[in-house]
């Protein structure tokens, strides 16, 4: 391997096709393309939703019509035609699955390819993963529900929650990300089809990692997920979210909203591995990922975001924390990898309102191919947030001379006792580092993998065990061939 050059490596990587690109053939129950009040009524009726929710949707839609698509992000793409999207698509089935055995075998196969391996999980009941699997827009299988129920934990699909716990949904939905927040949040509030809902009662420590796998399946289907996690006082939950999508040539739009509410002394840990179809090596196709994620903290509460972003053609995502309660803590750990023509504009917002609030931002960007990777973050210390503390570190690694790495931090401070540190660096893998590895008999490709993994370690260490393995695999898949 001694004469395996960086260029060859880059070529290998480019040629590597998206490993999870396959389509499941299931008849689906689709709404006609386009967006208008009737479609929203159709979705709401399909979901058998209560009247207040329909009204919320219509309000959000009215608001959305007055909004403009944001264009401040450092990304270029052809704006989606919102009238050319199917806003509802559900795998065709008349009844809910009673047990795992009833699940369509083809769907089981899909999950297997994704590495979810529900069956393995079933065998290993007692190991700690519960999966709320979302294929297209409807949740098809939920496990461990009864076990969670014993503890009073509610973990179900969003539409179930609307049916079974309407008062909880009504109370918390839209309190962190209101429909008026931004263009995509308004769109999501109007047309969301499903998602996950999680409620941890007072004083309960959720004994297992909760996870959802999202998958976009139907060609040309926009998926609008809505996730709401409420951790009541003194509770703890670790929530995992991961995604892969099949290969499509048409750009697919994904505009999700995630709301986290951590009440006094509660802690929410939210981890994401995102591996949607990034488009082929010429930049054709791929998912548009425009997500609004935000958490709010009560006194002594903590919200921690960890994300590994390797997919999507265009990513526009800023998981944020509102540190409202005194002594609350916000964390953001991110690895964003872009290759070929991918573009990512991602970062976080830390809004310090309470006293003695703390936030940590660790962002690692890796740009390969002709991709562009931007960090955009806001640290805002309000007037009454005495003794607020922030530490931010944003590192970028450039793999090729055609890629770009950009940093746009906004630091706004109105309190004299705040301490804010921000640091950013941009560089490529040192030739001396590679040389050192080569000298010790490690091939160039492996050396790059090693260095990249080490570079991301700070973030990967934050992931729950189950995810860390998958994330490392993803990094290797996204970079092993694609690192130049």
């Amino acid at each position: 391997m001694s004469n395996y050059t960086e260029d060859e490596l880059a070529q290998d990587l480019e040629q590597q096709e998206y490993k999870f690109g396959f389509t499941t053939d299931i008849e689906s129950d689709q709404a006609p393309k386009g967006l208008n009040e009737d479609i929203i009524r159709f979705i709401s009726a399909k979901k058998e939703e209560p009247k207040w929710l329909l009204e919320n949707r219509l309000e959000a839609f009215a608001l959305w019509k007055t909004m403009d698509e944001p264009n401040w992000a450092h990304v270029k793409y052809e704006k989606p035609d919102f009238q050319d999207i199917t806003y509802y698509s559900a795998p065709k089935q008349s009844k809910k699955y009673e047990s795992w055995d009833d699940v369509d075998p083809e769907m089981k196969e899909t999950m297997k390819k994704l590495g979810i391996s529900m069956e393995e999980q079933k065998r290993l009941t007692g190991t700690n993963v519960a999966v709320d699997f979302v294929m297209d827009s409807v949740s098809v299988a939920t496990s461990f529900k009864s076990k969670l129920k014993e503890l009073g934990i509610i973990f179900c699909s969003f539409s179930e929650a609307v049916q079974d716990y309407p008062e909880l949904v009504k109370k918390y939905m839209g309190t962190v990300v209101p429909a008026s927040d931004n263009f995509y949040a308004a769109l999501n509030s109007a047309v969301f089809t499903d998602g996950s809902f999680c409620y941890i009662p007072k004083g309960v420590r959720c004994p297992m990692e909760l996870s959802t796998y999202f998958r976009i399946n139907e060609g040309g289907t926009g998926q609008f997920e809505r996730t709401l996690v409420v951790a009541d006082e003194d509770s703890y939950v670790s929530y995992l979210e991961g995604c892969t999508a099949p290969q499509r040539d048409e750009n697919q739009l994904h505009a999700a909203v995630v709301e986290l509410i951590a009440m006094d002394n509660a802690e929410i840990k939210y981890s994401t591995v995102q591996n949607w179809y990034p488009g082929d090596k010429n930049g054709v196709g791929g998912i548009f990922n425009f997500v609004t994620k935000r958490g709010i903290c009560g006194t002594n509460a903590k919200v921690s975001w960890t994300q590994v972003e390797t997919g999507s053609a265009v990513t526009w995502k800023y998981p944020s924390c509102i540190l409202k309660g005194d002594n609350s803590v916000g964390e953001f750990y991110s690895v964003a990898v872009t290759n070929n023509y991918q573009q990512a504009d991602t970062g976080t917002k830390m809004i310090h309102l309470g006293k003695n609030t703390k936030s940590t931002i660790i962002s690692k960007g890796i740009s390969a191919g002709k991709s562009h990777n931007s960090y955009r973050g806001l640290v805002q210390i309000h007037k009454n947030a005495s003794n607020a503390r922030n530490f931010s570190q944003c590192d970028s690694l450039l793999m090729t001379d055609e890629s770009g790495a950009h940093t746009f931090p906004y630091i706004e401070c109105k309190n004299s006792s705040a301490k804010i540190e921000h640091e950013a660096t941009t560089s490529k893998i040192g030739e001396d580092q590679i040389f050192y590895c080569l000298q010790r008999g490690i091939s160039e490709e492996k050396a790059i993998g090693l260095i990249v993994n080490g570079y991301c370690k700070e973030v990967l260490n934050q992931l729950p065990m189950e995810f860390a393995v998958e994330a490392q695999k993803l990094l290797t898949i996204s970079l092993e061939g694609s690192v130049g």
Partner: protein
């Protein structure tokens, strides 16, 4: 009020006509911009933290004025100093002993119209206003291979109410030339004065140019300055900006690094109190390989004042082996003070070392205790700490006279005693 500027800045009708001829192309363009572009609002990204709407509410004039004694404004006792009052040249106070190798011309005495400007006019109201309604200006040419030891000093003083001074400095440092320029901006008296200054600076191959800029205007004045710098290969450009007083100050530094092996140094210190607003914007555009740039800005923000720092570094495709560093440090002394810091990197080449850092904090109470335990008063201890913090930037001044002068201004304004 002239019709030409109805959308943004107002002039009284008795505006004195300019005696400087700007190239017809620039003039037309500038007038068109003025007519079509409103004053920037905070919705414009570059002006996100700075409100200039107040400027639209004043009827400006550009009267000349006289001042009896300017000795307190002389920064360096050099024999080569040019004094402008309200943007108009004051022959009386200027001592024009120009060192050999330098030629200095008043723009009003240049016979041919000014050449096309390197300033960006589209969408830039203040540049356009400067170009279209120039009050005064100076062109400094430094001959090839000239090594100028005496700094060229330009002193701007504003006097009277509602004064608008549109000033332009053109500096051409020819091949292998070496020179230093000192710029001082002061107010004698009056309210709502507006100094709108632009500079076009060309640093040729192997040239070394250093600019020290001291801003000490009144808290009721406005100051917007734009430096457009072009650097040719192997050149070295350094600018130190000290903002010690001023109501609303905005400094734009645009550095185009066009040749390889260049060095660029941008340093700045800002000390604010009361309701001051100081905004430092810089863009270093690395267009070619093998260059380095260093940026160090530090500020102390007290009372209800607001400081803004926005530094941007571009590394264009194929501009490899760039080392670009940016650092911004802030100390907030009051809970009503605000700092908005936005260090940005946009990098399109891979073999680079770029970093930026930004910190915000306060004086270390333990260090203050240490000093107090050694007999310093609380006040002196704090002043010592602040001066040590700002000292990093003040130390970048190599000219002792400027250093002494700056310390005197700091004493006057902040009552430093130690």
């Amino acid at each position: 009020m002239t019709e030409l500027t109805k959308n943004n800045i107002n002039f009284k009708s008795d505006l004195q006509p300019t005696t400087i001829t700007v190239s017809e192309h620039d003039k037309q363009k500038a007038l068109a911009v003025l007519q079509n572009t409103p004053l920037p609002t905070t919705r414009v990204e570059a002006w996100k933290y700075t409100r200039v709407a107040k400027l639209g509410k004043i009827d400006f004039v550009n009267n000349s004025a006289t001042i009896d004694n300017i000795s307190s404004y002389v920064i360096d006792d050099t024999n080569c100093s040019f004094v402008f009052i309200n943007g108009h040249f004051s022959k009386e106070h200027s001592s024009q002993k120009i060192p050999a190798g330098v030629s200095i011309t008043l723009l009003s005495e240049v016979n041919s119209p000014l050449e096309a400007s390197s300033l960006k006019l589209e969408g830039e109201v203040f540049n356009a206003m400067n170009t279209a309604h120039l009050t005064g200006g100076l062109q400094i040419d430094i001959a090839p291979n000239a090594l100028i030891e005496t700094p060229v000093q330009i002193i701007h003083i504003l006097k009277g109410d509602n004064i608008l001074a549109n000033f332009k400095t053109i500096v051409n440092a020819e091949k292998s030339a070496q020179a230093e320029i000192i710029q001082g901006f002061f107010s004698e008296s009056g309210e709502h004065n507006f100094c709108n200054s632009t500079s076009e600076i060309n640093v040729a191959e192997n040239a070394v140019l250093r600019i020290d800029k001291i801003q000490y205007e009144s808290e009721k004045s406005f100051h917007i300055s734009t430096e457009q710098v072009q650097q040719d290969k192997n050149s070295n450009f350094r600018i130190n900006t000290f903002t010690l007083n001023g109501g609303l100050v905005r400094n734009n530094l645009n550095i185009d690094v066009n040749g390889q092996n260049c060095e660029t140094h941008l340093n700045g210190a800002y000390l604010l109190k009361n309701k001051q607003h100081v905004d430092n914007h810089s863009v270093v555009d690395h267009k070619v390989a093998h260059c380095e740039s260093h940026e160090l800005y530090k500020g102390v923000i007290d009372d209800n004042s607001t400081a803004v720092f926005n530094g941007k570094v571009f590394v264009r495709p194929d501009a490899q082996k760039i080392n670009a560093f940016q650092s911004n440090g802030n100390v907030l002394l009051s809970d009503s003070a605000t700092i908005n810091s936005k260090p940005e990197l946009e990098i399109y080449a891979d073999d680079v070392k770029c970093s930026h850092g930004s910190t915000t904090g306060q004086l270390d109470e333990e260090a203050i205790f240490y000093l107090r335990a050694r007999g310093l008063s609380e006040k002196s201890a704090r002043h010592l700490m602040v001066s040590a913090f700002i000292g990093d930037v003040l130390d970048k001044i190599t000219n002792e006279n400027i250093k002494t002068y700056t310390h005197r201004l700091l004493n006057d304004r902040f009552g430093w005693e130690f």
